[in-house]
């Protein structure tokens, strides 16, 4: 499997305490553990089971994911921040890997 590639989209300009949309996605097959490959062999479960976003170290949102979440899990939410800071995104894989991304937020 190709290395999962996380992506996050933020608006160009962010104002203090004004909600903005955060769009997140990571490339990942999200193997449900229910499917068989072309040889009829069960593909073991391997999913992103947890997604955590923090802002300056404070947890903003956590999402627990089950195999019913689509491949390349997409999560979108709103948030508002009082001041500039760093948004940290972490995706936790069944295999123990953690994929991270951080984004600097400059409040206008």
């Amino acid at each position: 499997m190709a290395q999962p590639r996380p992506r996050v989209k933020l608006p160009r300009s962010i104002e203090a305490d004004v909600p903005f949309t955060v769009k997140t996605r990571i490339t990942h097959p999200m193997h449900t553990g229910e499917r068989h490959d072309s040889d009829g062999v069960l593909v073991p479960r391997r999913i992103i089971n947890r997604f955590v976003v923090s802002y300056n170290g404070e947890v903003a949102i956590t999402v627990d994911l089950e195999p019913a979440v689509s491949a390349d899990p997409y999560v979108q939410f709103e948030m508002a921040v009082p001041a500039s800071g760093v948004l940290e995104f972490q995706w936790f894989d069944d295999d123990g890997s953690v994929y991270s991304l951080s984004k600097q937020v400059e409040v206008d």
């Binding site: 449900t32 947890v59 903003a60 949102i61 997409y74 709103e78 508002a80």
Partner: protein
Amino acid sequence: MAPTRRDVLLLSASAVAAALVPAGAAQASNGVWQAIDEFTGSALRLEGGVLLDAPEIFDNGGAVPIRVVAEGARRIALFNDGNPNPGVAVFNFGRLVPPEATIRIRLAQSQTVYAVAEMADGTYREASQKIAVTVGGCG
């Protein structure tokens, strides 16, 4: 003693009620009710207060967009009654994120999706939506 007319009516009324309630439940063989009870601690769930924004019909069961909003919620969980497993996702909202989220999910067949919100006062709210998919997403 022979049953009175009233007994018969009461019996048939409860039979109808019994038939109505499990009609949805009978279809759900994936344990969705137990899963929801685990999330709520078997607390009563009230209708209203949760917006579950999902298509009534969608061509690709592999990526069905679902949006949930529940003003005043601290957690929102999504469940399904037609996939092998009933859980979908649980959102925990911190101080900076209003209780609203969008996610794309897999539906193996046409079925009902449930959104259960845990409100800040510890009560639970629920919304559900039947979604028809033309191509299942777990094949």
